[in-house]
Symmetry: C2
């Protein structure tokens, strides 16, 4: 049997796992809930059980695994495999690469999830073969990724591409990062839920009332309210798209990219509706001579962008070092 | 006699010329006014006369010149030497490299002036040896430059790094680019002059009244009003620095650079005063984990940043191609 790769998408509430064959196809999947608040050991144990269960269920052993690779939210040094800081995970200066390589006796790679999502769309999705790509991933929060001059840009200490916290109005709504008027505070699910709660406090009716009572709604609840033409939900979506158009314009002027890719749970739920709302506004915010050579597209791999990006990370290391084993 | 290089800083109102010896020192300078509104031929003639007069005055011939290199405002393809578009110069799809190489029989290179200013500070100024550098040049307008992963970033078709038009408040003042609330509309001399005129219309007194009557003030007029503690001028400066701090924060979060460099005429006139005003605000707008590894500095080469950047462009071509002649 030829060797496989295992890729993981580690989130604050769940871990997605996939086995890729040598042709780069997903041949097995597994999803497990994580309880980030139970501490680092718990998340680590869940990662280990996802890998072990997938290997067992697919009828292979760890010897059949070429490498394991993961995307996770946070500031992660891709070179050293150290998680410097992860707002939604109980990790700080966490040497996950060293720990898991010892455990599995297999090469382990890790990168920021949205950086890897952009990498995935560039290597295996809608942005294949381009030199300059800007990725926006719209979910609970807002993440960014950059392909510049034909490679993933990570900046000093791999801390770059945090343009989800780009300030678009210094008098705008408060963000979890402590500042006002970040893109995330307008356009993420957190930002949309805040807006909806504000309107509820003003006495307005919305079918999202229960969904936002305890924090952030699920993407399918947003989709249902959109389908029912819920006025407050529609306003929140329009506002999200307006500020995404402004942010995309800023990034277009900064990078002169060939493509801007929009991915994440919100894009997946609302599909072309969401992209079209952004497109209707974006021309106003791009310098025309730059706008003329950029395309705006939906992520093609949807929920699998990060898994494919984790696969691309393995491929990059292989290209750099020759065969791993 | 060993060969020299000639570098030019081509602006909307003047051309600065310098002869560099093989040690990279400026050994001769010349400045001439241009009349951009008289058309492309006039600017071209002025370039030619600057080069010819410098060569004659320094007692050499064009055979003693290794290469000529220039920075100019606008969208310029550095590879082909074509000026695609230049807002303050009468050039559009202008094949300046081909024209001037025929004329001088010497290699000619050209790039965007602020890109080259950043390149100059990186090769010969305050940012030597770093991998990631963001440059802001604050003059009549507002320009940006990027050194990423150890080289000048220009983006698709060399149209990138236009973050002078980053939108920081969609309800802000109107910019020449047609949008509202760009960095340029807040922080450049154009933006400051607009603010001062607005205050004059509100009946406020300022010693800048005459200076802004016909458009943009001179940097030394700004400095004089600052020294006299002119309240309206001080407000315009504070507002400029506040929005520069926000823009710098956005760029820090996007790039995780090692250094942000501030240059241009405004910085040169107000020196550390201006930088300190930016620094007093900037921490609030950077994600702390990224802020901790970035330095904010004044351009070191002042008015010569672009000339040194033009020199660096020659050096890069030499490195790529071996000796030019």
């Amino acid at each position: 049997m030829s060797k496989v790769n295992i890729c993981l998408d580690i989130g604050g509430t769940k871990i997605l796992g996939a086995i890729f064959n040598q042709e780069g196809e997903i041949v097995f999947r597994l999803k497990k809930k994580t309880k980030a608040k139970d501490g680092a050991q718990n998340v680590e144990d869940t990662i280990i059980s996802v890998v072990n269960e997938m290997v067992a269920a697919y009828g292979i052993t760890l010897d059949d695994v070429d490498a394991i690779s993961a995307g996770a939210p946070g500031v992660i040094n891709q070179e050293t495999g150290v998680v410097l800081f992860a707002p939604n995970l109980p990790w700080e200066n966490y040497q996950i690469k060293r720990i898991l390589e010892e455990r599995f006796q297999t090469p382990f790679f890790i990168g920021n999830d949205v950086n890897l999502g952009t990498l995935g769309e560039w290597k295996h999705g809608v942005a294949k073969g381009l030199q300059q790509v800007v990725g926006f991933f719209i979910g609970t929060g807002m993440g960014g990724g950059l392909i510049l001059d034909g490679k993933l840009y990570t900046g000093y200490d791999c801390k770059g591409a945090e343009f989800g916290h780009m300030i678009l109005n210094p008098e705008g709504p408060l963000c979890n990062c402590g500042q006002r008027g970040c893109l995330e505070a307008f356009s993420s699910k957190i930002g949309m839920a805040d807006y909806i709660r504000q309107q509820i406090r003003r006495g307005r009716k919305t079918m999202m009332e229960e969904a936002v009572a305890e924090g952030v709604f699920k993407s399918k609840q947003m989709k249902a309210a959109y389908d029912e033409k819920d006025a407050v939900m529609l306003e929140a979506i329009d506002r999200s798209c307006l500020y995404l158009a402004i942010a995309a314009g800023n990034m277009v002027n900064t990078f002169s990219p060939e493509m801007v890719v929009f991915g994440g749970g919100v894009m997946e739920a609302l599909g072309d509706v969401f992209l079209e709302k952004i497109l209707r506004k974006v021309d106003a915010y791009c310098l025309p001579s730059i706008r003329s050579t950029v395309r705006f597209e939906r992520a093609e791999l949807n929920d699998d962008s990060i898994l494919y990006g984790a696969l691309a990370l393995i491929e990059e290391h292989k290209n750099r070092e020759g065969e791993i084993k």
